[in-house]
Point group: C2
Chain length 336, copies 2
């Protein structure tokens, strides 16, 4: 670590330190360093998505390490590619940072981006990017994926009679965030690095669910090969995101309360929260980044997924145990 | 126009107003609204680049209309695709804005993005994006292009004996910025909308070069078809960007002072600046976004380009009339 800042080092020298830390993707035909990169798209299509992380609304430097910021920025975008049934092939990354930012911080972000690609989507890597000045530290990632000749798995093809399945555990990421907001703040309510560090000492695995998530990226292709009829990644809360499949497909999704009990129990065990709080986090917490998919029958549900409900005929509604859910929150809205 | 803000309207309703203003690209197989979009890549490759615009370092709302912000964000990314010899096929756009931002402002940005695609790269459009909260208004664009079976035109293939040519006029964008900084500020030096408006009354065409540039996007493919050996878009100043070709190709680029005299004269005519200031802007001003390319011979230089120099054997140097240039600035660095 050095304390050289972007202002002291300059854009070109900073890029000279950041770019070598990024492993180029296997699909790169022309990598970073020209006006644009060139990526292979062997089946004649690319899947593309973009998602950003902003200092303040999306993260706090007192809670997240630079490595974790890069990891999460990659992981959340990889999950959107996986949710189409595609293999992530490359990221492009726009880093925007105040001139006072240490270059070492951005080196840490780069290391996290590279490590998440290696761990979650081998062969994927950062193929290009942009480094620019901003008052607000921002990581804007665009992810590209390959369908390898398959049809994309959309939100709109769930059919009555399908089963609903999920890959991942619900509620832990939101539980971790709730613990950070209650225990890793100072007397004035501001994010506090020392208290976050203490919380890591007792709840490392839980905090990782929020700060450096490991979405089941490979499960996206597995679901597609198993015949998934619809799929998305649960980022804004189970009820809200299930509602997106229900609306796009014109069906009712009936969630099984029994199937979600292990999630609520896991949240209680990891956080010590009351059971009703845990259920709110499971149903509406957000940032789970697991994959919610529908399959023609229970026999089609592949390893890594578990049945969490069923698809009924009807009009764009989500039920819990056959009834309208009564949860106190309705999922994430950036501006709510 | 309404004064509804993002905070009042919420993310989902705001997207419902923004997305319909964006024309989907011809290449879209799956458009906005799922986890990711799917784009056609008929020749099995995509060209990809990203560039951002940030309130403060890159623009001021007192000087630029929302429409102009969207236009420029699209145009600068389209130029990077063109500089590879590719046809722009799609943009993905991450918009980050304070909760107090009027939705109408983002509608204006969307209109500018759509209009720039229609005008500069017909068939290209916005295929997806992200709307998120940030203290700093930011437009992060990723552009995708198609090579249509051609090889990409890199920076690294210029050869001694080639001629150097340029499509566009140099110095006007930087001249406009200099006028804004001297005449469209208040007594404290802050950007002033009323003074900018007055300056538009007398210098509309000049300000458009800075605020809503029209890079010669179609010239990128024309250059590739004509056999361009190297190409880039001049964004950080002629000397600095020419140096990038010189370095990547391991050659000397010798710029002709006579060939650049019309640019300097155009800057003097448009701004009233002294000739030595105009020359600095031509050589190092930045944000020109024209295409600088090398061709095997003068006979290969296609319509839309003019010869501005020659390529000599030697080591990664840029000369002006055979001598090292003495300019007072060295081009753009985001953190300098």
């Amino acid at each position: 670590m050095t304390d050289d800042t972007l202002a002291a080092v300059g854009e070109i020298a900073a890029l000279g330190r950041i770019i070598p830390r990024l492993t180029p993707p296997d699909a790169a035909e022309v990598g970073a360093g020209d006006d644009a990169a060139v990526l292979a798209a062997p089946d004649g299509r690319v899947v593309i998505t973009t998602d950003s992380m902003v200092d303040g609304p999306d993260f706090r430097l007192a809670w997240s390490s630079p490595f974790e910021l890069g990891w999460k920025a990659a992981a959340t975008n990889l999950a959107d590619i996986a949710a189409m049934g595609a293999v992530p092939t490359a990221l492009v990354v726009a880093l925007m940072a105040p001139p006072s930012t240490p270059v070492a911080l951005l080196e840490g972000v780069a290391d996290g981006l590279a490590a998440a690609c290696t761990a979650l989507a081998p062969g994927c890597g950062v193929v290009g990017g942009d480094l620019a000045s901003s008052p607000t530290l921002t990581i804007a990632v665009t992810a590209i994926g390959a369908l390898e000749g398959r049809s994309p798995v959309l939100r709109s093809r769930a059919r009555a009679g399908d089963v609903l399945a999920y890959a991942g555990v619900l509620g832990l990421a939101a539980g971790a965030l709730r613990m950070l907001f209650s225990l890793a703040v100072d007397a004035a309510g501001a994010a506090d690095a020392a208290r976050a560090s203490a919380l890591r000492g007792t709840h490392a695995d839980l905090l990782a669910e929020q700060l450096a998530p490991r979405p089941p990226i490979a499960a996206g292709v597995i679901a597609a090969l198993a015949g998934a009829t619809a799929m998305l990644d649960v980022s804004d809360g189970l009820l809200l995101d299930a509602g997106r499949i229900a609306k796009a497909s014109g069906v009712v999704l009936d969630l099984s309360r029994g199937a979600l009990e292990p999630d609520a129990a896991a949240v209680v065990a990891a956080t010590g929260f009351a059971e009703d709080v845990a259920w709110d986090l499971v149903l509406a917490g957000g940032e789970d980044h697991g994959l919610l998919a529908t399959f023609p029958s229970a026999a089609d549900v592949p390893a890594g997924f578990r049945v969490v409900g069923r698809v009924l005929a009807g009009d764009a509604t989500v039920l819990l145990g056959g009834k309208p859910p009564s949860t106190r929150t309705l999922g994430w809205d950036s501006f709510a």
